[in-house]
Symmetry: C2
Subunit: 120 residues, 2 copies
């Protein structure tokens, strides 16, 4: 077992205004991060799950982007409204949320279901 | 297979000077990151290995800290001089470098050997 059962990295890269690639920060990634951190604390999961800032994850076209390890689940187009579902379904239950998986097949997860945090 | 074969997150958190916890940035973590990124590019691995900035990894007492996923290998006390060995042994060959593993057992890797990037 590694230090955390799930380790989430949210891209908070910032580019100058008007940059053709855009950036996750201007799309609101810091709010996604804050909402996820709060919810992890509320659920009493802070010793098992960590949510971190990350620099550019090179998924700019798919921002707001985040990746969840050790499973390597890449989500794109994430909105603050998706955070509760990500926590409940992916982080706690180990399910992949298909609509959030980045459509480029190089980001496809290896499986559709992973170990839940608590075995039923 | 996830987007990257190895994804390295180097803590570049900065705290105010004199903060009792210290921080990885003042210990030189941005140089560690730069050296690792350069070497990954030189070795032609940039499509398979990514080195990212991370916010505080909550391993402040063990800084400079980094974590390598999907394996969840946590290294602490990393110096710029360790970067080449980390790339050659851990990133390419999948070996854990015991002297760099954070001594707190909660950071212990689940195994001592992981899949190499290239099968021999």
């Amino acid at each position: 077992m590694s230090r955390y059962d799930r380790h989430v990295f949210v891209c908070i890269n910032e580019r100058p205004k008007g940059h053709p690639k855009g950036c996750c920060l201007e799309k609101g990634s810091s709010e996604v991060r804050d909402a996820m951190k709060s919810l992890i604390h509320e659920r009493g999961l802070k010793d098992r799950v960590r949510v971190n800032n990350a620099g550019c994850l090179d998924a700019c076209a798919h921002g707001i982007a985040l990746v969840i390890y050790p499973e390597g689940i890449w989500y794109g187009g994430v909105k603050k409204e998706d955070v509760q579902e990500i926590v409940d379904r992916t982080i706690v239950r180990g399910e992949v949320i298909e609509r959030l998986v980045i459509s480029d097949p190089t980001y496809a997860p290896s499986r559709r279901q992973f170990d839940p945090l608590e075995k039923p």
